[in-house]
Symmetry: C2
């Protein structure tokens, strides 16, 4: 008898038939004697349908984020009520629960809020009453009772946060893929499912655009030591365990290759190398809730400097006036924007203890005549910005070059 | 400068274009300097779409009413967010507010809950901040924080309750008809819009199936003295004022004719005339939240009695086992059910002081050879159950007979 949090994504609850299949799956766990807390996303397509309505109503203006949150939060509310009905129909007592009902408190950053606290008591009451709690993912309320949402994929974060708050034995993320792959199988035929992966590697892969798990959910799992099982909701096969680093993982130098297409590059060229410039720009971006990914600064001719950073393409429009405004009067340098780039990355705990991984990556790309626009590295990751048309070539060459097609190959 | 509560029904917010039209209308009131609180229903068709999803998921079983409420409450949430967006787009600051956010507390009778209290402070804060509050109608929460709904047409009740709680100057109900008519214009060509009608008359008309206002909203308006203006959301004409009785209304004996097609009759024949029988049956029905409309009891042969009552057709299935069960062992009498009846009624404050109104009604129906199955009267109403196929004939004959086609005619 275990306490398991199970999260079902949009495609897993995308129709009446699929909701029925989820109910069957949950009831099998219940028959085994497990306590189950379910987290659901909106039915696939629903969030986009609602956002399109909001856009149509807003015409050319920006819709208030508070209202967009109230609008899209209905998607998860509908799925949670429907799944609760489907479970009760099968003799499994179940209750739908919304963000405000489980007192999932977030900050006030509408459309990309962060979880602050969860009161586990309302959930425990449901569990103790022998019922399945069916929680609407992706949503919470801020200190004033406004509905907030956690951003795309936020239901993963809800699931992990609940698993942490309840001290659950396992957090299962049911999705439309079979687990975490060494790279995107649509790009690289020899991509292979990974059985286990460390939080750190998963974090890097998630941050690099491997869309299996939302990055915050991985951060939260790592922080609270929640073991996450990413698996298919359509097959009964084992997926990928995302867990603490252990010895068996060390043999592999590179665990995965990621390609992030959602990259826009901003370059501020030839500005005077003032200490305050980067701070001014990034403070203004942070205030506007825009996440900056890579940051590269090089001193060029004389005392002038080039500052390059990347944001998501969706944030580029908002970034332009902020970057220009932050420069203010001193706008002596030119600002350039580039959306025709992608980021290819190699990730692996093993590279901490293996020298030469980065240079091997550059050699592989060079052999393919792929030009590198910018490089950024962390302890377990090397990322290169390259032209978007060469992205798939780069992934295939790196997957081959680091021997990822064959399990256990140390690269 | 007034404080006005405006309620817009499902057809009034049924599309992006209509939501835009509502936003235009609200902003004109704001330009005039009025404070406005808006209450919206779900976009037309949405509640039925959601209920159909719930039915599909529940298969042959009864979906838990708690979950149906969580499901359908999303309809009003979507409209309120969309209208708030549309208002902000037009430079009118607005906030959507849900049942739990305005602390609209109801009892726990899911799918037909009754409002217990409203905390006017959250609304006052929004009004005082110069914003339009766009309240999701039809919904509240019970003492445990579960989402409840007020039953079909419940948004009218939300609007009147808010007007009462805020001491608003006026409650406008925007709908797809131009106001209250002397009878259904689809049945009777000479039906005429009424400029003013008393709460009492409106209450009887609403209870008789004239679907312009939900009956509870009229009860609440009467109790708190809220003046209600029922008017078209598509035209700019004046509608009908529902207000306190005044002298000008007295001239009219009969204010309107109503036809209620949603009638099912239950007859318990020839049971021993025990004092407890009716109590047993109606207590059991009340417990199951089934509303009984007409109740007629006649002593027939010997000490035996016939008990007849009516419920809505939707409640008939639930009524059968309850009526049979309540009789229990003593089930000596036969129970009969009849769904092929309608109720035709005449309503008017004037009949209090005019004798012979009921007999005039019976004469008119007799002249049309319409058989009366049962009669029930109140101070300002006479209702007859007749066969459903003669319903329209009865309405036309009574409308003509009581001179309703000509305003001011004392009938």
């Amino acid at each position: 008898m275990a306490l398991i949090v199970q999260k079902f994504g949009g495609t897993s609850v995308g129709s009446v038939e699929r909701i029925a299949a989820v109910a069957e799956r949950v009831s099998r766990f219940r028959e085994r004697g497990d306590d189950v807390v379910v987290v659901v996303s909106a039915m696939s397509g629903e969030t986009n349908r609602l956002l399109a309505l909001g856009r149509d109503v807003a015409r050319e203006t920006e819709a208030p984020p508070r209202e967009l949150d109230a609008l899209v939060a209905t998607g998860e509310q509908v799925s949670s009520a429907l799944l609760a009905i489907a479970l009760n129909t099968r003799g499994v007592p179940a209750r739908s629960l919304l963000g405000h009902q489980i007192r999932l408190r977030t900050d006030g950053a509408h459309t990309k809020a962060r979880i602050q606290t969860i009161d586990d008591r309302p959930l425990r009451e449901v569990i103790d009453a022998g019922q399945v709690a069916v929680v609407a993912g992706f949503q919470g309320t801020d200190a004033s009772g406004n509905i907030t949402t956690l951003g795309r994929g936020g239901s993963d974060t809800t699931a992990v946060a609940l698993a942490a708050a309840l001290g659950a034995d396992l957090c299962e993320i049911y999705t439309d893929v079979e687990g975490v792959f060494t790279t995107d199988p649509r790009i690289c035929e020899s991509a292979r499912k990974v059985d286990r992966i460390s939080y750190e590697e998963m974090l890097e892969l998630a941050s690099l655009g491997a869309k299996v798990l939302q990055i915050r959910s991985v951060e939260m799992a790592m922080k609270h030591g929640v073991t996450v099982h990413v698996r298919s909701s359509f097959k009964n096969t084992e997926g990928t365990l995302v867990t603490k680093e252990d010895e068996s993982l060390e043999a592999i130098v590179v665990a995965g290759i990621a390609l992030d297409r959602d990259v826009a590059k901003v370059t501020i060229r030839g500005v005077t190398d003032e200490p305050g410039l980067a701070a001014t720009v990034f403070e203004a971006l942070a205030e506007a809730q825009i996440s900056v990914d890579m940051i590269i600064q090089n001193v060029s001719a004389g005392s002038r400097t080039d500052l390059t950073f990347t944001v998501t393409r969706g944030d580029l429009e908002a970034t332009r006036p902020i970057a220009e405004g932050a420069l203010g009067e001193r706008q002596r340098g030119a600002i350039g924007f580039d959306e025709n780039l992608v980021k290819v990355s190699i990730v692996g705990l093993g590279m901490r203890s293996h020298a030469g991984v980065a240079s091997k990556m550059f050699r592989i790309l060079a052999a393919e005549r792929i030009n590198i626009e910018a490089i950024s590295t962390s302890e377990i990751k090397v990322s290169c910005l390259i032209s978007d048309e060469r992205g798939p070539d780069a992934v295939r060459a790196l997957h081959e070059g680091f021997g990822l097609a064959n399990p256990g190959n140390p690269g």
